[in-house]
């Protein structure tokens, strides 16, 4: 006659360990994407960090994204991952003596870079400042809306990502989803971003923006020429920012950024800091130039200047 001990051994014993395993397995199974379970969901889940992908892996990812976007927006979408050009470091100049605060740049940027229209995301914030106070951010106003600009006694200072040489935003990212590229552009891998928004807290220029909702991007207005690290459509819950129109400027020859192209007064200048013949170098060498919040030692590559 078997004793109590052996009977216990034979019976199903529910240990705490087994219990936890079971609960884990059930929860895991419930979390699986059931209805829209396609191969791409799994591929996206197991996608590597952008900088760790091999070329074939990256090409596969780009093809997958192109297919996804084409389905969502009903048109052929190109997603490129054009690498940086050797010997190029981008710099930007903004002529404060010219800017009239018309906000043409804000909306040209939204169109070019596929930002969410609703809820609204703007990479460029145009500050209206008092001429008497000078660059005094405490008294800046960016909701100004008179019938005509410029208004008397005011000047205008557009602020966007300054593409810092020492970016505080990339340092704080816990998953390295944002980094500075070799050509100085600070980029975000939207597939790696976990949405913690530490970078937004770290940025002293308010240049990073969070997708609180699924971006509202009308298919008709979607710009199909995209870059993986730039203007490709973003998912909900990731941070995005100005990339100096990476999809435009990384080509040879490369177009000027959308904001430079649209500016009606020619206040915006763009070029290669390493080319002594470039416009931006001429500005730095010949004009009165300043950078915003110089004391923070972020070393922006966005130079405000006065041409007159």
């Amino acid at each position: 006659m078997p004793n109590q001990e052996s009977r216990d051994n034979a019976a199903f014993r529910m240990s705490r360990r087994k219990m936890m395993k079971g609960v884990g397995a059930v929860l895991g199974a419930l979390a699986l994407p059931e209805k829209d379970a396609s191969a791409s969901v799994w591929e996206e889940f197991f996608q590597k960090h952008f900088r760790e992908m091999s070329k074939p892996e990256l090409e596969k990812v780009l093809a997958r994204l192109e297919k996804e976007y084409a389905k969502t927006y009903g048109k052929a979408v190109k997603v490129r991952a054009t690498p940086h050009i050797e010997g190029v470091s981008y710099g930007y100049g903004l002529d404060l003596s010219r800017c009239i605060g018309c906000r043409r740049c804000v909306y040209a940027c939204v169109q070019e870079n596929n930002q969410s229209r609703d809820p609204q995301i703007h990479y460029i914030r145009v500050l209206q400042l008092d001429k008497e106070r000078g660059v005094d951010l405490e008294h800046a106003e960016h909701y100004y809306n008179p019938s005509k600009v410029p208004e008397k006694g005011h000047f205008y200072m557009p602020v966007q990502c300054h593409q810092c040489e020492l970016p505080p935003c990339t340092k704080v990212c816990p998953v390295q989803a944002t980094w500075k590229e070799r050509d100085g552009i600070v980029v975000v891998d939207y597939n790696w971003c976990i949405g913690c928004r530490y970078c937004m807290a770290a940025c002293p220029y308010g240049a990073r923006h969070f997708n609180w909702k699924k971006p509202g991007l009308p298919a008709a207005e979607m710009n199909p020429e995209t870059h993986y690290l730039g203007n490709r459509p973003r998912p909900v819950g990731v941070v995005e920012k100005c990339t100096f129109c990476i999809q435009r400027v990384r080509n040879t020859p490369g177009r000027y950024t959308a904001c430079v192209e649209v500016c009606p007064v020619g206040a915006r200048k763009f070029g290669n800091l390493l080319d002594p013949e470039s416009e931006i170098r001429y500005i730095i060498e010949n004009k009165r130039v300043f950078i915003l919040k110089e004391d923070l030692n972020t070393q922006p590559k966005f130079y405000y200047f006065y041409a007159t």
């Binding site: 605060g101 809820p119 005509k148 200048k269 001429y282």
Partner: protein, 186 residues
């Protein structure tokens, strides 16, 4: 004696050699100096012509000679009463009038102060006579809007594409809508 002469010859030879050497180095130095004298931003010669889009003429106004070839030029400064009444000069109007910029004998040309006649597609040279600082910046790609390729072909615009030559100051324009306030976001 013989020895002395040869020594003299040697000294002379050395002297000549030294002079030649010195001259050579000086010349080389001079050459080098000339080479490095170019400033990092050597200004393009003012004569260099820039490719620009066609001047923004009022439709039907150009060529001016269509009307003017039959007319006898009247070089007297006066207010125009019959034609061109829409043009109100608001550009140092006390100091000049039409024929300071428009050529009196060839109505399709503009006129520089030195008497040179230029086409409208070169009008930046005319503006540059007074606005030298802007002209310098424009040539370097700083003044005015530049489109095209940042590392390739750049598109220049004429001064008159943005500034009305008769009334050059920019007029205020309506701004695009302000951003949504966070409290208004749904």
């Amino acid at each position: 004696m013989k020895r002395g002469r040869s020594r003299n010859g040697l000294v002379l030879g050395i002297a000549v050699l030294a002079v030649c050497l010195a001259a050579g180095t000086a010349a080389a130095a001079q050459q080098k100096k000339e080479k490095t004298a170019g400033k990092p931003h050597a200004e393009p010669a003012p004569e260099k012509l820039f490719a620009v889009p066609k001047p923004p003429f009022t439709p039907g106004i150009f060529p001016c000679s269509d009307c003017h070839k039959e007319m006898k030029p009247n070089p007297t400064r006066r207010e125009l009463k019959d034609e061109h009444t829409g043009i109100v000069l608001n550009h140092a109007q006390g100091q000049r009038w039409c024929l300071d910029c428009h050529d009196v004998s060839n109505r399709d040309k503009l006129r520089l102060v030195n008497g040179e006649r230029i086409g409208h597609e070169e009008s930046y040279r005319l503006c540059g006579q007074c606005h030298g600082d802007k002209y310098r910046d424009w040539r370097a790609g700083i003044h005015g809007k530049r489109t095209g390729m940042w590392n390739g072909e750049k598109q220049y615009l004429l001064c008159v594409h943005c500034h009305n030559p008769h009334d050059p100051q920019f007029k205020p324009i309506p701004p695009m809508p302000p951003p949504t306030r966070p409290e208004d976001t749904k």
